[in-house]
């Protein structure tokens, strides 16, 4: 018999999507509008041109049941400026964070932390230092949690980029 009820009750999962799009026709707003109009989640979204082409790559991280993920992929494909949508299963994901910390904090601790997360101190001014780190998204999330102790003034994350292994 038809298994579509099972299909309905599936667990929510996290999905990394690469969307290759033509660089025009207000394509980014088409994609964002699609997500908001149909009530899909966006956990992270990054855009950058694909080198030496007229295309851009949009990396989207979304969370949903398999029915929803299936619809997201199909609805994205349906948009006229979308060339290709890839669902990634085995990927390297990287997220970058910039954190500004006041100079009165324990800077050697901060330096050690940054290094532990593949990062370094990038800039020092009279009031603050800026560290950056690039790592897997869950490790970056962890770094942000730990760094709270040092009273960060500002935290900026880049969003996730991904590539199939």
């Amino acid at each position: 018999m038809s298994d579509f009820r099972k299909f309905y009750d599936s667990e929510e999962k996290r999905e990394v999507l690469s969307v290759i799009v033509v660089n025009k026709d207000s394509v980014l707003s088409r994609i964002v509008d699609l997500f908001s109009a149909r009530g899909y989640n966006i956990d992270s979204l990054t855009v950058a041109p694909v080198p030496n082409t007229d295309y851009s790559r949009i990396t989207i991280i979304t969370i949903g049941r398999s029915r929803v993920i299936d619809q997201i992929v199909k609805q994205l494909n349906k948009l006229v400026p979308v060339l290709k949508v890839t669902e990634h299963s085995n990927v390297i994901e990287k997220d970058t964070v910039l954190i500004k910390i006041p100079l009165d904090q324990n800077l050697s601790d901060v330096d050690v932390l940054a290094r532990a997360y593949n990062g370094a101190i990038q800039n020092v001014t009279e009031e603050a230092i800026v560290i950056s780190a690039t790592d897997e998204p869950h490790r970056i999330a962890n770094l942000i949690k730990v760094i709270e102790k040092y009273k960060p003034i500002e935290i900026v994350r880049s969003g996730v980029v991904a590539m199939e292994r």
Binding site: M1, S2, F4, F7, V21, S26, S29
Partner: protein, 582 residues
């Protein structure tokens, strides 16, 4: 800058340079519409679109019909497309011209109707400055068009025009919107419509996967209670003859959606009627008991499935659709087939020729029994006319000679139930969006596309008021049609729900104060009749046709009549309220 050595034809704004011809953006619109063999455009002028209207004035390729409201222009173009299968065209100005058109665009989008809508826009230099009559038109239309374009450079316009028509009619059809700034329509560039434009990101699948089709057919052949569930895709892809042939060959029973009325002949022994919230008892029972749904161009709409977790529990599902996103959106099929239904039906017929299908006669007999137990019916009343009788009677008198439009509400469902539709594109109705006010402009667009047919609009006393100004357009352009107003002094469908589910608290649904429809019609060059009895109705219909004018036949009907059967919200498809149920 214009080269001095060129000559200019001031009438057509053609500019000849050595071997090339340069024309204005506005002229490109005219030339493209001509290339696309557009015979009529519905529209309304305004500041930002004046360059295009100036060219419309100069041309004689197509007729322009000036409606009284932009919404009606888009609805009329939509009806033209529904009844012919060609791309409907509407032209409006920027700002309010465009926002008035949005309801029309959304109506066409929800029912996948091929259209091109061209709107004026403020000049590119002032876009973003909140200029007079400026609105972010492409931002608004993005969610209710198949695709849209804001043209920034006249050099891009030939490509955009050609792609707009191509996108509108291919794949899953739909409206395409072009927003044309005033300076772009004034600027000049080369125009070559024969050039093909590549669109590497848009490649709809048209041919079905042969292995999947064979696989599905093998299972259909072995099924005990298969059911063809036919949707609007069968109308849009013009393949009703192949579906009828497949039914003759396999003897599989059929149910139709609202959008598919007419795909089967109304008197076919295999047709068990329309299914869904107001579907026939036999059709809904068929869907509940089938073991093999063969969905042809339908999308398992919530008005069709009823409560989803108990929908068609025993069934395997074959789903044919041109839009991959329609497949597995609501119901996950066992046999998904992406393709143009017209092509897939040819493939199905070819594969079916030397196959042996089960004998489904006992299944069909069972459905016939259901049909006999609970046929579509209404109880006659000696005192007052029943709305269903009016529709049935019109069917008896006009039958295949009439093309039927409706507005939205009770009369729409009664029309779907009781009019004998015998061919596709006979029934124009806003199925997906449910837009009140489409009826009169639909009847107008239908008449323009089919001058030899009788165009009838079944409407209600609520809906008719929403675009009633268009009577005068029909008078001006000689587009006679007949509006049959089933007047119950209520917003009947909402009233029915209030009675059933809100303890009869009739919040804002009582239409006590009404226009005199006869005078209203006459004041705009039409004719009008007020009808209380069967004899009066027959006479009015006859006179209306003979008058060759736009007619309003106001029929005073039983106020409290309900649309039945009815599947209440949140109930399974087989849990219907029938005539006599409380």
């Amino acid at each position: 800058m214009i080269n001095v050595s060129i000559s200019i034809d001031y009438k057509y704004n053609f500019i000849f340079e050595e071997n090339t011809v340069k024309i204005t953006g506005a002229r490109m619109v005219i030339e493209a519409l001509n290339e696309e063999k557009t015979e009529v455009v519905f529209g309304y002028p305004g500041g930002a679109i004046m360059n295009v209207y100036d060219e419309i004035y100069k041309q004689d390729f197509f007729q322009h019909i000036l409606t009284k409201h932009e919404q009606a222009a888009v609805h009329a173009a939509d009806a033209y497309a529904r009844s012919t299968g060609k791309v409907g065209v509407a032209i409006v100005t920027s700002g309010p011209g465009f926002t008035n058109a949005v309801t029309g665009i959304a109506t066409a989008y929800t029912d996948s109707i091929p259209m091109v809508i061209i709107s004026g826009q403020v000049p590119t230099a002032v876009i973003g400055t909140d200029a007079f009559q400026e609105i972010d038109a492409v931002g608004i239309s993005r969610s209710c068009t198949k695709h849209n374009f804001l043209v920034n450079d006249v050099k891009d316009l030939p490509r955009v025009l050609k792609l707009a028509f191509y996108l509108a009619r291919t794949g899953r059809p739909g409206p395409v919107h072009i927003d044309l700034p005033k300076d772009v329509s004034a600027n000049i560039a080369e125009f070559d419509y024969s050039k093909n434009f590549e669109l590497p990101t848009y490649k709809p699948t048209t041919k079905g996967n042969v292995r999947q089709i064979k696989n599905a057919l093998e299972h259909i052949a072995k099924a005990k209670r298969p059911l063809l569930y036919v949707g609007g895709g069968a109308v849009l892809s013009n393949c009703y003859e192949d579906i009828r042939e497949f039914v003759e060959l396999t003897k599989i029973p059929v149910v139709e959606t609202l959008m598919a009325r007419g795909v089967m002949r109304s008197d076919s022994e295999y047709l068990f009627g329309m299914l869904g919230m107001h579907g026939e008892y036999a059709a809904n029972m068929a869907m509940s008991e089938t073991d093999m749904i063969i969905c042809l161009g339908a999308r398992f709409d919530d008005r069709v499935t009823g409560r989803l977790d108990v929908f068609a529990k025993k069934a395997h599902v074959v789903h044919v659709d041109i839009d991959p996103a329609s497949i597995a959106k609501i119901v996950k099929p066992n046999y998904p087939i992406v393709g143009d239904l017209a092509i897939v039906m040819k493939q199905i017929l070819e594969e079916s020729q030397d196959m042996t299908f089960n004998d489904y006669s006992s299944w069909k007999d069972k459905l016939t029994t259901y049909q006999k137990e609970h046929p579509l019916r209404f109880e006659e009343d000696s005192d007052r006319l029943k709305p269903q009788w009016v529709i049935k009677r019109t069917g008896e008198l006009l039958g295949d000679k009439a093309l039927i439009s409706t507005d939205v509400g009770q009369h729409q469902m009664w029309t779907a139930q009781f009019y004998p539709f015998n061919y596709p594109r006979q029934f124009m109705t806003s199925g997906g969006l449910g837009t009140m006010g489409v009826g009169l402009p639909y009847a107008m667009g239908v008449k323009r596309a089919n001058p030899d047919k009788i165009s009838v609009n079944f409407t209600g006393d609520g809906s008719i008021m929403m675009n009633i100004q268009e009577i005068i357009t029909c008078t001006q352009y000689n587009l006679p049609h007949i509006n049959i107003i089933l007047n119950n002094n209520y917003l009947g469908m909402v009233r029915q729900w209030q009675t059933r589910f809100y303890e009869d608290r009739l919040a804002e649904t009582v239409l006590e104060t009404q226009a005199d429809f006869k005078m209203l019609s006459e004041s705009m060059g039409g004719v009008g009749y007020k009808v209380h009895t069967k004899e009066e109705f027959d006479k009015a219909l006859e006179d209306a046709i003979a008058s060759n004018k736009t007619a309003m036949i106001e029929v005073i009907v039983d106020r409290r009549e309900e649309v039945l059967p009815m599947v209440p919200n949140g109930h399974a498809l087989n849990e219907m309220l029938l005539l006599g149920d409380k």
